[in-house]
């Protein structure tokens, strides 16, 4: 069993968990969750050093207090894609799968944007866009002198927030080579194509000009993602940026690349189709595994 087949299987399961959450809530930010979920899976199941723990964490406070301080950190700057992180954390055993059935319910530990004091495994409260990179930079500076790394995923629709560019400049200035920012370029935001709403291209050239080492990858190609994550330099002084070209709603045939699925309120027959498609993907990945 290779890392790639294992991660493909886990990503297929995670997609199934996303649909499960949408069933619970009746709606959710599905499109972006499914564009970045392969990379989130690869981070948790292959790349990041996770805190050792026997079974699910009892609660968020225990996690924050007791999780190995030398662990790698993951910050979802594009917090609305949280179903991807919830799904992967559940799959990785941070909390029982049944918690996924509380999405959208009163008092849930998995709100529509992540809360580090509610769910074990969440490292930062994101949701307002343009916050994650500065928080991640602070973590990276605080972890300097250890070999821990900080990974953050931003959306391409998030890039017009000026605070991102403050943090991009500061990360290079402070030589935060232990910071990896992944831009999930699915090309769509709520009102249309990102390049039409506010064109931030060429993103790679801009980040290079800001002093980052920039990589590009197909963010839905698990083999390519893992190959790139393995190739990221360690001990470097340059912060690392990955421009990940992805497909919004990847994995749901009727929704892939369609802007109206940014926030999805499924009709019953659509939900049934989504469940069938994600189940088929899991079965196929299980065979490969």
């Amino acid at each position: 069993m290779s890392a790639v087949t294992e991660c493909r299987y886990r990503a297929a399961k995670a997609r199934q968990h996303v649909v499960r959450m949408v069933r619970s809530s009746g709606a959710g930010h599905m499109g972006g969750a499914l564009s970045c979920i392969d990379m989130v899976t690869a981070l948790y199941f292959h790349t990041m050093r996770l805190p050792a723990h026997d079974g699910p964490w009892p609660d968020a406070a225990t996690y924050l207090r007791e999780a190995d301080p030398g662990r790698d950190r993951f910050v979802l700057s594009a917090g609305h894609k949280c179903m991807a992180q919830y799904a992967v954390l559940a799959e990785a055993g941070y909390f029982p799968l049944e918690v996924l059935d509380t999405y959208g319910k009163l008092g849930t530990k998995i709100p529509g944007h992540p809360d580090m004091w509610k769910l074990p495994g969440i490292e930062a409260n994101t949701g307002a866009l343009g916050h994650g990179t500065a928080i991640s930079l602070g973590m990276a500076l605080g972890l300097r002198g250890t070999d821990a790394r900080v990974f953050t995923i931003l959306g391409d629709g998030e890039l017009p927030e000026g605070s991102n560019w403050e943090a991009f400049a500061a990360a290079a200035h402070h030589r935060a080579g232990n910071l990896v920012a992944i831009i999930d370029v699915n090309g769509l935001q709520i009102s249309g194509p990102v390049t039409e709403v506010m064109n931030m291209e060429p993103i790679a050239a801009k980040l290079e000009a800001f002093g980052w080492q920039v990589w590009e990858v197909d963010g839905n190609d698990m083999a390519a993602v893992i190959e790139l994550f393995d190739a990221l330099p360690v001990g470097t002084e340059k912060p690392q940026a990955i421009i990940a070209r992805t497909v919004k709603s990847k994995g749901l045939s009727f929704a892939e690349g369609r802007v109206e699925y940014h926030y999805w309120k499924p009709k019953p027959e659509q939900l049934a189709q989504a469940e069938a498609e994600t189940q088929a993907a899991v079965s196929e990945a299980e065979v490969q595994r």
Partner: protein, 316 residues
């Protein structure tokens, strides 16, 4: 150091923080091109690994502070007050407040103390906006000894803190002592039963003017209980209620808008008690520019102005 001696509040704060940081390696300093004016020049030279210059990017500085705090550091971000509160407010609310991080935000040149630089550089809403963040402690020391003691207290306190102080040198009013967050300081007690009595509750550097007003009022036959309120939030409600019960007339004095600040907080505490609260502060407008003390006087925020306002109120 002695009572009445004038000291720079910014340098006093910087030196006090640096002294703790010498012994506690968790303390890190963040600057938005503001470290030198905040008294951290020596610390920066001695501990470059614990001093982070962010340049003029206060949103980033606030987020970075929160991130650092998640790793166990105790970040102190000191800059010109409005650029630590309203400029990065969403970062203060979400990254520091909502994430419950142990970040200390110090607004220097606060209130109207960047007097001639105009309204962009005034912070007359900081009490109001910062206390709206659940879990945030808001502190406005009244003299250099309180700045020093508060610097130690906020570093010992686990949780987000906003502390503000001014620009001009301010006199020592008190003997050095411990700063207990959330505790009022009874500066002057009622002396002569039978005379008309009022409570003055003041905060920040204006407590000096309130002390002067209390003396003038005393000479004019009005007894004053003066409560210094160096912690704006959480407010010492018990002290407010106890004094108000004695005098039934409360005046608040602050270098802040009369909306949303100490006066509003005191009014909330006394809600339903029938005690009248008169709020002395800056009117809700874009304040005038000019020399600091002249601005304060023009708004009636000196000993004479406070005295007149109280006499006017009592005499109807």
């Amino acid at each position: 150091m002695s009572i009445g001696e004038l000291r720079d509040p910014r340098k006093t704060f910087g030196a006090a923080i640096a002294a703790v940081a010498e012994a506690d390696e968790r303390v890190v300093i963040l600057s938005a091109d503001s470290g030198k004016s905040s008294g951290f020049t020596d610390f920066a030279a001695k501990h470059p690994d614990r001093y982070f210059e962010l340049g003029i990017m206060e949103q980033c500085a606030t987020g970075v502070a929160a991130g650092l705090a998640t790793t166990g550091k105790i970040p102190v971000f000191c800059a010109i007050a409005p650029f630590t509160e309203v400029r990065p407010y969403e970062m203060v609310r979400n990254d520091v407040g909502y994430m419950r991080q142990n970040v200390k935000i110090a607004g220097r040149n606060a209130g109207i103390s960047y007097s001639d630089l105009g309204s962009t550089h005034h912070s007359l809403e900081d009490f109001a906006v910062m206390r709206m963040i659940p879990g945030m402690t808001v502190i406005a020391p009244q003299d250099p000894t309180e700045i020093e003691a508060a610097a130690q207290a906020i570093l010992a306190h686990h949780g987000p803190v906003y502390i503000r102080f001014g620009n001009d040198p301010i006199p020592e009013l008190f003997e050095p002592g411990e700063f207990v967050i959330g505790q009022a300081r009874l500066i002057r007690e009622l002396a002569a039963p039978g005379r008309p009595a009022v409570t003055i509750i003041s905060t920040g550097a204006l407590t000096n003017a309130a002390i002067g007003a209390a003396e003038l009022l005393d000479a004019a036959g009005i007894d004053v209980e003066l409560l210094g309120m160096p912690t704006i939030w959480p407010v010492d409600g018990a002290a407010v209620r106890a004094s108000a019960a004695k005098t039934k007339r409360v005046f608040t004095v602050e270098e802040h808008y009369v909306l949303g600040g100490l006066g509003t907080i005191v009014q909330e505490v006394l809600d339903g008690t029938g005690v009248s609260v008169t709020k002395l502060g800056i009117p809700h407008e874009y304040a005038t520019s000019g020399p600091y003390l002249q601005i304060l006087s023009s708004y009636g925020l000196d000993a004479e102005g406070i005295t007149e306002a109280i006499q006017r109120s009592i005499n109807g």
